[in-house]
């Protein structure tokens, strides 16, 4: 069954068309740069300059820089401008106008810290000794909902606008909310995605947990030591099949299902057996009326922390059984780091690029794959997956929040 046939013969939720993709990543602005980087098998993680970090425990991150063409409104944050750049690219690819006020369109975004990077300068003055005067305007874009709202204002969106702030699962959950709203007919088009920038708070925080690898992260490698933090944004234009068809839009792929769960186990450590994320995956499969056998490759959360990767491996074994040893698996975080609240969005775009290029991108990282996991991790170069129809993408977050989506190929 192709993704298109699945859409036509659905028995559960309607599949939603993906007609535009946009990204800002450690490889630069745009999805072309993202795919070129991902396919190269080289990591975008290394020394960075976003802020002074000599006193931090680690020195690496994946920095996206500031795309020249993304000037946002006054006082917008870097995260806002990342979001604008990704949205502009996605809307252009979808063939939608810049101003969307005539469309039934909503925004579904994920973020973990919004404009925290800019706010830190204000708070450094206010909380420092001695206290220094600081301009309150530097807090204008602080709120976590700012990137999504900035996109809405820039493009004249008049439909629902919401921001999920569930740490590292935010954008995946936001895409699930968009999927539900489109299926319900609340809107015809959704701009779904996420944006986060590097900031001292999260960089120091994850280092305090000893969750950051001093080197570039090494997902699923035997000697992995933690994640690498990254920054950027990604946007997917989602629309009902009827809307895409009426516009004559090219369907790049499909969002066919979403699922979520909670471990209710620990604030930072995942359920070691991966039972929670397994429930989210099973919910996503049910939502899509698919079985695990229909999945052709997986873009896992794959942070590179010992606990996360072990839990995910257990989940994968529980869901896919004996197929696991030959199921192509990748982690975009090995290439671009962890985009926190935007991780699910950039990984969904990366997954769509895998479909569009007919190959699963490799997972950079030093060392041998952990032999205890018996995984088919794609390494070195892209792995051709001709005829691939469906892919799974997963994200796990603080507090045991789990989210999964299933994407379908547009090649019907």
């Amino acid at each position: 069954m192709t993704a298109g046939e699945h859409r036509a013969g659905r028995t559960a939720g309607e599949a939603i068309a993906i007609t535009g993709l946009g990204a800002v990543s450690g490889y630069g602005a745009g999805t072309a740069a993202l795919w070129k980087g991902l396919a190269s098998g080289t990591s975008a993680i290394g020394p960075f300059s976003r802020f002074e970090h000599a006193r931090f425990r680690t020195q690496f991150a994946s920095e996206a820089g500031e795309p020249a063409a993304t000037a946002g409104p006054a006082r917008s944050s870097i995260a806002d401008r990342f979001a604008l750049a990704a949205a502009r690219e996605a809307l252009a690819q979808a063939g939608l106008p810049s101003q969307l006020d005539d469309l039934s369109c909503g925004i579904y975004f994920g973020s973990s810290t919004g404009g925290m990077f800019e706010s830190e300068s204000y708070f450094a003055d206010l909380l420092g000794e001695p206290r220094r005067a600081s301009r309150i305007g530097r807090l204008t874009a602080q709120q976590t909902c700012s990137p999504g709202e900035t996109v809405a204002r820039a493009h004249g969106v008049r439909g629902p606008v919401q921001t999920v702030a569930s740490a590292c699962a935010s954008a995946t959950l936001a895409m699930g909310n968009a999927l539900a709203a489109l299926r319900a007919g609340d809107i015809d088009v959704a701009i779904a995605g996420g944006s986060d920038s590097l900031c001292r708070l999260t960089y120091a925080g994850f280092n305090s947990l000893r969750a950051v690898d001093p080197k570039a992260c090494r997902p699923f490698r035997a000697e992995r030591e933690g994640m690498s933090i990254g920054e950027g944004a990604a946007v997917l234009v989602l629309e009902s099949a009827a809307s895409a068809s009426a516009r004559g839009a090219r369907v790049l792929g499909w969002l066919v299902g979403a699922g979520a769960s909670c471990d209710a186990h620990h604030m930072t450590a995942p359920d070691p057996q991966g039972a929670g994320i397994a429930r989210a995956v099973e919910a996503a499969l049910a939502d899509a009326s698919l079985s695990a056998d229909d999945i052709d490759f997986v873009n896992v959360h794959g942070t590179g922390t010992p606990h996360n990767d072990a839990a995910e491996a257990n989940m994968l074994r529980a869901v896919f059984g004996e197929r696991l040893s030959t199921l192509p698996l990748t982690s975009s975080k090995g290439a671009i780091g962890h985009y926190l609240g935007a991780a699910g969005a950039i990984e969904a775009v990366a997954t769509m690029l895998c479909f569009l290029h007919g190959a699963v991108h490799p997972t950079p990282g030093e060392g041998a794959v952990d032999p205890a996991m018996n995984l088919d991790l794609v390494i070195g170069r892209p792995r051709p997956v001709p005829g691939a129809r469906f892919a799974l993408s997963t994200n796990l977050a603080f507090g045991g929040t789990n989210a999964a989506i299933i994407l379908g190929s547009g090649q019907t």
């Binding site: 973990s112 909380l127 000794e129 709120q143 709202e149 809405a152 708070l201 305090s208 049910a286």
Partner: protein, 412 residues
């Protein structure tokens, strides 16, 4: 398999705020019509002379009876309040300790997240150095910490997410939760709206000129819709709402408090990043579309519970939107509970659900004189039949808007 359009009922309500614990305490406070305000600690020197001094700070005297100290000490202040409100809500719903919550979902909404924890963490990182960052504080600094702590307390393993969209977070969270039930993704969902008010946040809101101040027209207090309103009163607390499908509630013999009929949302792109828009006509059209889609005419609405807070421009937008949606015909009775509860979504939401359930609301505290530009006079007491259909309306600075239609449980 999805079961579409299950009816959603409210079966429990847990309230913690300035009026103490329990919905009875809130109702008595609303009916008394006098906000319970206290002096904010200005000792840290964040406040400017002549600025706002008061906030509706939560009465936490019951907290120790609701959250065991061994668990409470690991939680952020908003997580503590959310867990306490959850315990009250579960009792109110007749769900005893030991109830199986394996498939229970949780959605929380917050405008500012864990403010105190974030302040302390920033003090460590920016003042003492990044190596001083506390992992315990970092873990609790995420906006979703309350949702996670709630889930861990009762082992709720269904979907879990946190929404943040300023003043519209409350109704957006309620809407997503209801959708999960309608889509068959959870049979029961706990909706937690939580906010904390700390001195630095209070001072910053005052610097943005958002807070009510004493002036020649009266003391420092919010005056929703009043011609001399000059800002809102900061507030804190937590409200947890138990939502269930009508079938689940009926099966266990639960008595619904009210029924959630429909949820709508829109955006006003004329809003600035830190202020209110002036797009009343398009918001009114969106509100009318929402009503039309659900087969409701303005004449069919018996009561409007407004999120108007005393904000000069926010209340103006609300009043003009309602007036345009009703095409200048008389509005049904309007109440704005934030005059009593202060500005936090939980108080508004609880007051709205109770009013929709037929509990006699309080008058709009602080209102004294009609603003000639708005022409809106809130209900001032007197005869008021229990409403069959109530509209809850929450507009947000930054542009978001959300609406909910609520019916009495016995509506035919």
């Amino acid at each position: 398999m999805r079961s579409v359009s299950a009816e959603v009922v409210v079966t429990g309500l847990g309230v913690l705020g300035a009026f103490g614990a329990g919905r009875r305490a809130l109702l008595e406070g609303l009916r008394a019509g006098v906000p319970r305000l206290r002096e904010v600690d200005r000792g840290a020197g964040f406040h400017r002379p002549g600025g706002a001094r008061l906030a509706a700070l939560a009465d936490l005297s019951e907290l120790g009876n609701l959250v065991p100290a061994a668990l409470s000490r690991r939680m952020s202040p908003p997580a503590r309040m959310a867990v306490a409100a959850m315990q009250l809500a579960l009792r109110d719903a007749g769900l005893p300790e030991g109830t199986d919550h394996t498939s229970t979902g949780i959605v929380t909404g917050t405008a500012f997240g864990p403010a105190w924890v974030t302040e302390q963490l920033l003090r460590q990182i920016l003042g003492q150095g990044p190596e001083q960052a506390s992992p315990a504080l970092f873990t609790e600094s995420v906006a979703s910490a309350s949702a996670a702590q709630m889930a861990m307390m009762i082992r709720a393993r269904g979907p879990n997410q946190t929404l943040t969209q300023r003043e519209a977070s409350d109704l957006l969270a309620l809407g997503e939760a209801a959708r999960w039930i309608r889509d068959g993704k959870a049979g029961r969902v706990l909706v937690g709206i939580v906010e904390e008010s700390i001195p630095i946040l209070h001072a910053l809101l005052d610097r943005f000129q958002a807070l009510a101040r004493a002036d020649r027209f009266g003391p420092e207090r919010a005056r929703p819709f009043d011609r001399h309103r000059n800002g809102f009163t900061a507030a804190e607390g937590a409200v947890v709402v138990v939502l269930e499908s009508a079938a689940v509630a009926e099966a266990r013999g639960a008595q619904p408090i009210c029924r959630l009929l429909a949820h709508g949302a829109a955006f006003d792109p004329s809003a600035s990043a830190h202020g209110w828009g002036n797009g009343a006509p398009p918001l009114a059209r969106a509100l009318r579309r929402f009503l039309d889609r659900n087969g409701v005419t303005p004449a069919g609405i018996d009561l409007i519970v407004s999120g108007a807070s005393g904000s000069r421009l926010g209340d103006r937008l609300e009043a003009l939107t309602l007036s345009a949606a009703w095409e200048s015909r008389p509005l049904p009775p309007v109440v704005a509970p934030k005059g009593t509860t202060g500005e936090y979504g939980g108080g508004f939401l609880a007051a709205g659900l109770l009013a929709a359930a037929g509990e006699r609301p309080g008058v709009t505290a602080g209102f004294g004189a009609v603003d000639p530009e708005l022409g809106l006079a809130p209900w001032t007491g007197g005869e008021l039949s229990p409403p069959r259909l109530t509209l809850l309306t929450a507009l947000a600075s930054g542009g978001a808007a959300a609406w909910t239609l609520v019916a009495r449980p016995d509506r035919a």
